[in-house]
């Protein structure tokens, strides 16, 4: 009951204000002020740069605009095997991410939820969240050192057991798997927080009922916990397609080297390399626009699929 009261109050205020035709009220101004920085940030970094997409159709140099070139940059890109290779590599890593990185925090949250010793649970949660605050530069340096064929202790162990040292970061086929592993290592604890929050809201009576019905721990997980988590999982799943390619740039840039570039060059690093490092802004912008178009298409498609097939017929927008 307390919960519904708390929700009702702002609605009441909002309703009264609406009736009076007032947008800014004594109560709403602080709320607007709170959202103002986020709005400014969004407008500055998401909307103001939008016209910059036009660079994809221009000869734009450090000296400035040189002229329109139509689809020339796109033709150049689409003729490059290297570009398509980067495209495929991106998808490979994204798919591995959905297969392993996306479910990992859900599984972790479920496991954590089963721990009954609170102090142990807190320690585990803290330790697993901590890597999220370590920069990718540091994480990559640590793992490159650990896995080094000459200095790394992993190879020391392999040698101790009579094996030949393995240079992990020279094996192109291994790279997407290594990267996925590192993303899980770094992000699983932090990503699990939102699921743990959702789990804390599950009505304890449901578990009691399940126990009365004879459900064991595993049965409770599938019959109570997962259905309770489903809306959260769905929202996060759909939203993840909005920035399906993001979050890869830093780790890949830090870990890639010429030996593994056949699988470690992704769209983001290609755009960075072409657009900024080589100062071919038009080409970089064209690749960026291509990437954004795919993200947008995916988001709309997934939202449509969700609407079409979910039991309530709702997407997230």
């Amino acid at each position: 009951m307390a919960h519904s009261d708390a929700v009702a109050l702002p609605l009441d205020v909002s309703e009264k204000a609406r009736k009076k035709g007032k947008i800014f009220t004594k109560r709403s101004i602080p709320l607007y002020l709170m959202i103002l920085p986020a709005m400014i940030f969004t407008i500055m970094f998401q909307y103001i740069p939008l016209p910059g997409r036009l660079i994809a159709f221009t000869d734009f140099r450090t000296a400035g605009f040189q002229g329109w070139v139509g689809l020339q940059h796109f033709r150049f890109l689409f003729n490059l095997d290297y570009f398509w290779n980067a495209f495929i590599n991106t998808w490979r890593i994204v798919l591995l991410g959905y297969l392993f990185f996306f479910p990992a925090p859900i599984i972790f949250a479920l496991l954590l939820n089963e721990i009954r010793v609170k102090s142990f649970k807190k320690v585990v949660q803290t330790l697993t969240v901590l890597p999220n605050f370590v920069n990718w530069v540091v994480v990559s340096t640590i793992f490159i050192s650990i896995l080094s064929p000459r200095f790394g202790y992993v190879n020391d162990l392999i040698r101790a057991f009579g094996g030949e040292p393995i240079f992990f970061f020279s094996l192109p086929r291994l790279f997407p798997w290594l990267l996925t592993y590192l993303r899980i290592w770094k992000g699983v604890g932090y990503s699990a927080i939102i699921y743990l929050a959702a789990l804390s809201g599950v009505d304890a009576e449901l578990y009691e009922s399940a126990v009365i019905d004879g459900a064991g721990r595993i049965r409770q997980t599938f019959a109570v916990t997962l259905p309770a988590l489903a809306p959260t999982i769905l929202v996060l799943f759909v939203l993840s397609f909005a920035d399906v390619f993001s979050g890869l740039f830093e780790p890949v840039l830090m870990l890639q080297n010429p030996m593994i570039n056949s699988t470690a060059e992704i769209l983001d690093t290609y755009i960075y390399s072409v657009g900024l490092v080589n100062r071919r802004y038009g080409l970089g912008a064209a690749a960026g626009l291509f990437k954004a178009t795919i993200s947008m298409t995916l988001l709309l498609t997934v939202n449509w699929v969700t609407k079409r097939f979910s039991s309530e017929g709702r997407g997230i927008f």
Binding site: K26, T62, A63, L80, S170, P258, N261, S262, V274, L276
Partner: protein, 533 residues
């Protein structure tokens, strides 16, 4: 209302903090003429962060001595060109940049990042005194895209190899690629340092930069910095060829693939972040060989002896094979050093350009200080006006054999001040000094002999890179495609032939044949009919 006040107060704090953190503040007023200079180069004193206290003393001294405001920005060495590009793209850099070579200078001019030096300095007497060759080195279609930092006989490269390891294994210094392969095998498998452990490999490198002789030996020389394979071809009338199109490139790549597959080539060679890191692997006794500046072999010996007192390096000036019966190592000729770039939009660009020339080419003390460090601390004039370098020590107290910490802003410019080699600061070790002199003399003899007998080749003067607008537009792609091709073939991801087929297809896609045609036309030559994309 209190909440609103608190919120506004909090927001004000955030904004004020952000402004403070991003350094929105009044620039210090100075009446001295400003010279902004960006470099990675700290002469022989390592990267910017090494021996910092020694390096930091140079600029204040220089500014007080010459009453100028020299402002130096140091970028770390790995990925230096990329960092320069990023700084230019974001507009956070101005003044003069020391860059790596003519290709970069031409690229920056082509995309409008840099200024033409000529209108800025053409009336400066120090510019007019320069040798015509030096003046023209970085000239492109009447535009001076970079200012030359040197004019001196070209430095040679050679392969440095552990002589003491060869002796331990009963091997002679290799002369052919086959002998070299054997030495690398034995360096890896036969315990050359007699430690009883499997702790050595044959050779290491930093990408293809320190691996060039492995191509030269097969008659497929790389460009002057080992960045790609489009070069004036000493085997084909000095026209520009893409060496990757020649059939013997398959054998060159197969040789590298064999070295790598058998563990004779350092497995981390293509992921080592810098030349310094690769050199360290050599002098620390892990790898027995590396390709590097010829004059560095003294340095290798000195450094390696801090780990192993018996260590000794000798240079191999070039290797031969069935494909190339003579050494092909770039050498001789005159070089203009790294070009200085004037960033577009630099305030007082003309003043800065002339200040640079007036100081570092017009004032002898500034010139030598830019070369050897603080005057009367690291060097002084001798009784006959000769340069005398003074003994000094590193921060940790060890005697230094290198030039004093400086920015290396000047290099040897022979017409201005008598060319003077640094020599070896004896620090009480007369025998070492004599050994050093003997080796230098021997190298000079070998280089002279090599040039006279056509053993060495020089890239066509002023054409170390193709002069072509098409090249400037895609040179970064060419470097990437080349490096990936070599890396994939070497590490066995594809066969050499597959790698080269992919290379040809990618080069076709970026219009590489036009680059060759334009570059050869600029030389008054036609492109090869044999090796085309």
């Amino acid at each position: 209302m209190r909440k609103v006040t608190l919120l506004l107060f909090g927001l004000s704090l955030v904004v004020a903090g952000s402004l403070f953190a991003t350094g929105v503040q009044e620039e210090a007023v100075t009446e001295r003429p400003i010279l902004e200079y960006t470099t990675l180069f700290h002469f022989d004193s390592g990267d910017p962060t090494e021996n910092l206290d020694l390096k930091e003393e140079f600029t204040p001294w220089f500014n007080d001595y010459f009453n100028v405001d020299l402002r130096i920005t140091y970028f770390p060495r790995p990925e230096y060109p990329q960092r320069i590009s990023l700084a230019l793209a974001t507009g956070e850099i101005s003044g003069i940049i020391r860059h790596f070579g003519g290709a970069y200078a031409a690229e920056l001019w082509a995309d409008g990042s840099s200024m033409d030096w000529l209108p800025l300095i053409q009336d400066n007497p120090n510019w007019q005194k320069l040798e015509p060759g030096m003046q023209e080195e970085w000239m492109r279609d009447g535009v001076l895209v970079g200012f030359p930092t040197a004019w001196m006989p070209g430095r040679n490269f050679s392969r440095h190899i552990r002589k003491d390891w060869l002796d331990n294994l009963g091997l002679e210094v290799p002369q052919t690629i086959e002998e070299f392969y054997t030495a690398m095998r034995m360096f890896t498998e036969n315990d050359p340092n007699q430690s009883g452990q499997d702790d050595t490999v044959g050779l290491t490198t930093r990408t293809t930069w320190l691996l060039q002789d492995m191509f030269h030996a097969f008659g497929v020389p790389l460009n002057h910095v080992g960045g790609h394979a489009i070069t004036t071809d000493p085997h084909d009338g000095d026209r520009f060829n893409d060496q990757m199109l020649k059939p013997q490139m398959v054998a060159a790549l197969q040789n590298l693939a064999d070295l790598y597959a058998n563990g004779y080539l350092d497995p981390e060679a293509f992921s080592i972040p810098s030349g310094g890191a690769a050199r360290e692997r050599v002098w620390q006794g892990f790898a027995g060989s590396i390709y590097d500046w010829t004059h560095n072999y003294v340095w290798y010996t000195n450094q390696a002896r801090t780990v192993d007192p018996d260590a000794e390096f000798v240079p191999i000036l070039g290797l031969t094979s069935e494909y190339a019966d003579r050494y092909v190592n770039p050498g001789g000729g005159y070089g203009a050093g790294e070009p200085l770039i004037m960033v577009r939009g630099t305030r007082n660009a003309e003043e800065q350009a002339n200040l640079l020339l007036d100081l570092f080419l017009g004032n002898e003390i500034a010139y030598w200080s830019g070369r050897w460090g603080i005057y009367e601390k690291y060097w002084e004039f001798g009784p006959n006006g000769e340069i005398v370098r003074l003994p000094w020590k590193w921060t940790d107290g060890t005697p230094a054999y290198a030039p004093g910490p400086t920015i290396g802003i000047t290099n040897d410019v022979e017409p201005f001040f008598a060319l003077w080699q640094s020599g070896y600061i004896t620090q009480g070790n007369e025998q070492a000094s004599r050994d050093w002199q003997a080796r230098e003399t021997r190298i000079a003899e070998m280089v002279r002999e090599g040039l006279e007998t056509d053993i060495y080749f020089q890239y066509v003067s002023g054409h170390t890179e193709p002069r072509s607008e098409a090249y400037d537009a895609v040179s970064a792609d060419i470097r990437r495609i080349f490096l990936e091709t070599v890396t994939m073939a070497t590490t066995g991801q594809v066969t050499p032939q597959q790698a080269l087929d992919s290379y040809r297809s990618q080069m076709r896609a970026i219009g590489a044949q036009r680059i060759l045609d334009e570059a050869n036309a600029a030389l008054g030559k036609t492109s090869s009919t044999r090796w085309r994309y």
